[in-house]
Symmetry: C2
Subunit: 291 residues, 2 copies
């Protein structure tokens, strides 16, 4: 018997993820803000629901993939939200990257209805979503995780249960500290190299294989050199995640000076109109600092 | 006919490097501040010289591996220094990490005697020196580089000619920006994870294979978790290199906010007595900031 699933939020990540669940033979109902974005899935056999509530009524597992904390709050707790149809034994899986503490409050509300809420933010970008190679970091009830893990394996490659509710979001924020600070390192290092007259390709070849190596250097370094600022991951989204990091650090009374610095420098990138560009466009801020 | 080589500075890096040159069948004369450090090489057939000048007299290629700018200036330009015996056709190869602009001034002095001075700083630590897997970043005359390249291949694996005099040092400083800022990212990310109650091994496993991945995370992250602060690369040396970066940035009127921040945080690590510990001990500064 196929699983009865719902998917809410068919953006650049959600649409291909829902497609994998459909292709695996599951029964799928979808809802998203702009119905046109569902057309491909509807043509392939998914059914449309008019609201998150309606989608939840017919599903045992509800996946959510929207942008920020208020979006998830609206989809779950709002009028015609998931919570209204939540019931014993069903599971909500949130793939959005949002506040860990807000996540725990939402999960509490859902559990009052006898259902489970798992935070399951993703990493790997649109390419990872299309190729089902996402990393999925999951927090919440372990038994609920075990039940949905086979479905997560249809959409991702590295599936990790990180701990109780919020642990998936916290792990994603750890990921984003590393990603954004390593990117800042590449921007600063290549600007230092360029302004000192070094050949940039040769420089990356000389240092990239050793202790200076990183995913950010290997993947974004060449784009910076080529002036290719098309988004793999947009600065506006990176800033949203950095704001979550700074808020979570404040809640825990933690100092995160490096994330704070890169957030400030991205403010400048956004001021210059680079918000929709990829995070590698941060290099333009460093270059401007050297003029 | 074997090459006539000299090696000046038999520290934790220089001693094994000189050993590789000797093992390759070259004639080798050595000089270092503390003669006892030469005993192993002397027992294997190297000869002792009383000064850099004396060592240079009998060598076609002189290798130097000391600590900082003033050390190289003393070895080359000082009393009984290399310069006094420098002559047409000989080559000086400096493996120390020192100021790029001071390097160019030393190279100018050496070239006035008809000799060539190559800056050739190394990366890869004591393990790289022992296993001859160092990265060697070379600046200076291309023809001189071509002549010594076979000798460099005896000591290292990734040998790169980076450009004119100083380009090797500048490339090494690019390397150190990346190394130190990536390390800061790991310290901040793991402290964020720890104070928020995440399982640290699991966290690294969840994020390390993707866009957050780096050599620093893979190699220093587990040491931070284990509380193993033994030096692969000591904080005191990292600080020396960061001072070179900040000075070179000032000379070029470049802003390096990330390197500046990590330098400040290492000041605190040194204040706490961690100077001789490995750079991963920076995590203790982040932990203290969260108490």
């Amino acid at each position: 018997m196929p699983n009865s699933l719902a998917f809410i939020g068919l953006g650049v990540m959600g649409e291909p993820m829902a497609g994998h669940l459909l292709a695996a033979g599951n029964s799928l109902v979808v809802n998203t803000r702009t119905k046109a974005k569902a057309s491909g899935l509807l043509a392939r056999g998914a059914r449309w629901a008019e609201s998150p509530e309606d989608a939840t009524k017919v599903a045992d597992v509800v996946f959510i993939c929207v942008t920020d904390t208020p979006d998830v709050q609206k989809v779950v707790l709002g009028e015609s939200g998931v919570l209204r149809a939540a019931r014993q034994g069903m599971i909500v899986v949130d793939h959005s990257t949002i506040s860990p503490s807000a996540t725990r409050r939402i999960a509490d509300e859902v559990s009052k209805r006898g259902a489970q809420f798992l935070d399951a933010p993703i990493s790997g970008g649109d390419v990872g979503a299309k190729n089902a190679t996402l990393a999925i970091m999951v927090g919440g009830d372990r038994a609920a995780f075990d039940r949905v893990e086979p479905l997560l394996r249809v959409m991702g490659k590295t599936i990790t249960w990180c701990g109780p509710s919020g642990a998936g979001q916290l792990t994603k924020l750890v990921n984003q500290i590393l990603v954004s600070v390593n990117n800042m390192a590449v921007c600063e290092a290549l600007t230092f190299a360029k302004k000192n007259g070094l050949d940039l390709e040769k420089t990356i070849a000389a240092v990239g294989a050793g202790a200076a190596g990183s995913w950010q250097l290997a993947n974004l370094g060449p784009k910076m050199i080529a002036g290719d600022f098309r988004p793999g991951f947009a600065i506006d989204l990176q800033q949203k995640d950095l704001k979550l990091i700074l808020a979570a650090a404040y809640e825990a009374r933690l100092a995160t000076p490096a994330a704070s610095l890169v957030h400030q420098l991205f403010n400048s990138a956004q001021a210059a109109g680079s918000g929709k560009e990829g995070t590698q466009a941060l290099v333009k801020v460093f270059e401007k600092l050297a003029i």
